[in-house]
C-alpha cells in the first residue's frame, strides 16, 4: 500500500540522518543523566520513601516521560530548516501522502526516544531503580503516544510559524509550565491544592503519575487508566491537526 510505503521511505530518510549524526542521540541522553546525577541526590532527604523503594523509583519513571516530551517538543526547528530548503514543498508536489510527510519524521523521533528511554532505564538500575518489567513495557506505550503527540505538535508549529524566532517563545512557553506542573521534579502531593488542581490540566502529569505506579508493578490502577484516557484522544487530535498543517503549509 502506497501510504505505508511512503511512511517507510520517509522514515528511512530521517533515520539515515540520525545514523549519520549519532551525536544527537548522545546529547539527548545527556539531559536525563544530568538530572539523575546532579538532581536526584537532592531528593533523597526530601522525599519520604517506603517499602524498600528508593528515591529513584519515584524519580526515574517521571524522567522517562519527560525525556519523551523534551525530544518531541523541539523537533519544529528541524522542519523549519526543511521548509526553508524547499524539501517539504518538493514532497508536497509529489503524489506522496501528506500524512506520510508528517509520520516519517515522527516515527524517527519515536525510535530515538525508545532508544534513549531503554538505555537510560538500564543505566539507572545500578543506581537503585527497580522497575517492574511488564509495567515498564506498558509505560513504553504511553511514552510512544506522548512522543507522537509532542513531535507532531512540534512539526505542526514549525510548519505554521516557519521561523525559529517565532517558534522559540511558544516552545519555551509550553515547556516550562508543563515541566513544573508534571510532578517530575517533586511529587505533586507536596503542592498546595490550587497547584494540584492546575496540574490536572497538564497531559504530561497523567503520564508521570501512571509511570510511577507502572514501574512499581501496579498495572490495574486508575492512574494508568487516566493516562490512556487522556493520551489516546490527544494523540489522534494532534496528529490530525499536524497533518492538516502539512497540507496547508505555504513556503
Amino acid at each position: 500500500m502506497k501510504l505505508v510505503r511512503d511512511v517507510g521511505l520517509l522514515y528511512q530518510r530521517k533515520l539515515m540522518e540520525t545514523l549519520r549524526n549519532p551525536i544527537y542521540i548522545v546529547m539527548s541522553m545527556l539531559t536525563p543523566v544530568l538530572y539523575l546525577v546532579l538532581f536526584s541526590p537532592l531528593l533523597k532527604n526530601l522525599v519520604p520513601t517506603t517499602g524498600g523503594r528508593s528515591v529513584l523509583d519515584l524519580f526515574v519513571p517521571g524522567l522517562l516521560v519527560i525525556v519523551a516530551f523534551f525530544n518531541g517538543l523541539f523537533v519544529g526547528y528541524g522542519i523549519i530548516d526543511e521548509i526553508r530548503n524547499g524539501v517539504i514543498e518538493r514532497f508536497r508536489a509529489t503524489p506522496t501522502s501528506r500524512f506520510a510527510i508528517l509520520a516519517g519524521p515522527v516515527l524517527r523521533d519515536t525510535t530515538n526516544v525508545l532508544v534513549i528511554v531503554t538505555v537510560f532505564t538500564l543505566v539507572s538500575i545500578p543506581f537503585g531503580f527497580h522497575p517492574d518489567f511488564v509495567g515498564w513495557l506498558i509505560l513504553l506505550v504511553i511514552i510512544i503516544m506522548l512522543i507522537i503527540t509532542t513531535a507532531s505538535f512540534g512539526y505542526g508549529l514549525g510548519l505554521i510559524l516557519k521561523e525559529e524566532d517565532r517558534l522559540s517563545p511558544i516552545v519555551q512557553g509550553v515547556n516550562l509550565p508543563i515541566l513544573l506542573l508534571s510532578g517530575v521534579l517533586l511529587p505533586m502531593e507536596l503542592a498546595p491544592t490550587w497547584l494540584q488542581v492546575l496540574a490536572h490540566f497538564n497531559p504530561v502529569y497523567y503520564s508521570v503519575e501512571a509511570a510511577r505506579v507502572l514501574c512499581a508493578g501496579t498495572i490495574w490502577d486508575a492512574k494508568v487508566g487516566y493516562a490512556f484516557l487522556f493520551m489516546v484522544p490527544l494523540t489522534v487530535l494532534v496528529v490530525a491537526w499536524a497533518t492538516r498543517a502539512v497540507r496547508r503549509v505555504v513556503a
Partner: protein, 326 residues
C-alpha cells in the same frame, strides 16, 4: 498544433492583507504546448510564483480553471502531481542526504521500484553531469551543484511538464550559463518546461514562447522575436557636433519613409526605425551630403524590457529596486 499540456482559464487568486484584499493573480489565460520552453517573465510580486503554485497543486485558485495534461488541478490533484515536476525557488534537495539518495527517494515516491529508481538516478547523473558529486552529502554542494540536483529531482519521474520557479536566482553568471545549457538539454529530451524568471536575458535566451506578467495579469504573450517586433522598433541614437542644423534635420527625417518617429533635443537625436541595420547606411549618407557632422552613432535593438515598458509604462529594471514579495 498538438493539444496544449497546460491550460488556464481566467485564473484568479486573492490574498488578504491589512490594507484589504490583494489580487495576486487576476484573470490569467495561458496555453503551453508540448516540448516548448515557456517563459513567465515579470517583476517580483507580479504573481508568477502564485500562478505556478496553483498549477502545481500547492495552492488553490479562488476562481477559474487550470488543467495539466487534461487533469484539473483542483479536482484531480493526485493525477496532476504524477504528471508534473516541480523545482521551487528554494530548490528542494534534502541536504543531509547524498544526491543519489535524493534521486532514488524521489523516484520511489513516484512509485518506481527500487531497481527502476536506481537505474533512472544513474541515467540522470550521467545525463546532467552530476557524477563528480552525486555520492557526496548535499550539504557540501555549491549553489550551482545544488541547482543541478534540484533540476534532476524535478525530472526523475519523466514528467510531462517541468515547472521551474526562478531557477537561476542567486547563481553567479557562470553557474547561470551552465544551468541554461542544462535547461536547453531538457528541451532536447522532449521535456516541456514552464519557467518563471525576472531576468530579461534569461527569458529571452531560453523561451520558445513567453508571457509577461505584471500586477497579476498577462500583459503580453508570444515568441521573444514577435514581442520585440510589436513594440519599439530599433533605435538609432546620434550625437551631433552642434545643434545649428536641427531644423534641417527635422525636415529631412520627416521625408524619410522608414523613420517611424524621432526626437531631437540639443545635440541628441533618437530615431526609431523598423530595421536599424538596413537604414543606417542611408542615414549616414544623408548626413554626409547635407554636411551634418556626427560625433557618435549607436544602434539599439529592442529588448524585452522595451516590451515591458511599452505595456506597463515602467521598465523591469525600475521595478527591481521596488522589490516586494510574491
Amino acid at each position: 498544433m498538438p493539444d496544449p499540456v497546460v491550460v488556464t482559464k481566467d485564473l484568479k487568486k486573492y490574498f488578504s492583507s491589512r490594507s484589504g484584499p490583494v489580487q495576486a493573480v487576476d484573470g490569467v489565460d495561458l496555453e503551453v504546448f508540448p516540448g516548448e520552453i515557456f517563459g513567465f517573465l515579470g517583476p517580483n510580486g507580479a504573481g508568477k510564483t502564485t500562478t505556478l503554485r496553483i498549477l502545481t497543486t500547492l495552492a488553490k485558485a479562488d476562481s477559474g480553471t487550470a488543467t495539466i495534461a487534461g487533469f484539473d488541478v483542483s479536482r484531480e490533484p493526485g493525477k496532476v502531481r504524477r504528471n508534473i515536476g516541480y523545482v521551487g525557488q528554494a530548490g528542494g534537495a534534502d541536504r543531509p542526504a547524498t544526491g543519489r539518495e535524493n534521486l532514488i527517494l524521489q523516484g520511489r515516491l513516484y512509485d518506481m521500484t527500487p531497481q527502476q529508481a536506481k537505474d533512472r538516478a544513474a541515467e540522470l547523473i550521467t545525463a546532467l553531469d552530476l557524477g563528480e558529486f552525486a555520492d557526496r552529502i548535499a550539504h557540501t554542494y555549491s549553489g550551482g551543484q545544488l541547482r543541478r540536483l534540484d533540476v534532476a529531482l524535478g525530472i526523475m519521474h519523466r514528467p510531462k511538464v517541468l515547472f521551474l520557479d526562478e531557477p537561476t536566482t542567486g547563481l553567479d553568471p557562470q553557474n547561470r550559463a551552465n544551468l541554461w545549457v542544462q535547461i536547453e538539454k531538457l528541451r532536447d529530451m522532449g521535456v516541456t518546461v514552464f519557467l518563471t524568471t525576472h531576468y530579461l536575458e534569461e527569458a529571452d535566451a531560453l523561451s520558445d514562447r513567453l508571457a509577461i506578467m505584471d500586477h497579476g495579469r498577462i500583459v503580453a504573450e508570444g515568441t521573444p522575436v514577435e514581442l520585440k517586433k510589436q513594440v519599439a522598433g530599433d533605435t538609432i541614437s546620434v550625437g551631433l557636433r552642434d545643434d545649428s542644423r536641427n531644423e534641417a534635420i527635422a525636415t529631412l527625417l520627416g521625408q524619410r519613409p522608414y523613420v517611424r518617429d524621432f526626437t531631437l533635443d540639443d545635440c541628441r537625436l533618437r530615431i526609431v526605425v523598423e530595421e536599424g541595420s538596413k537604414v543606417m547606411p542611408d542615414l549616414l549618407r544623408l548626413f554626409d551630403q547635407e554636411g551634418i557632422e556626427i560625433a557618435t552613432i549607436t544602434l539599439a535593438v529592442p529588448t524585452l524590457d522595451d516590451v515591458f515598458l511599452n505595456k506597463t509604462g515602467r521598465t523591469l529594471r525600475d521595478t527591481e529596486s521596488a522589490g516586494g514579495g510574491q
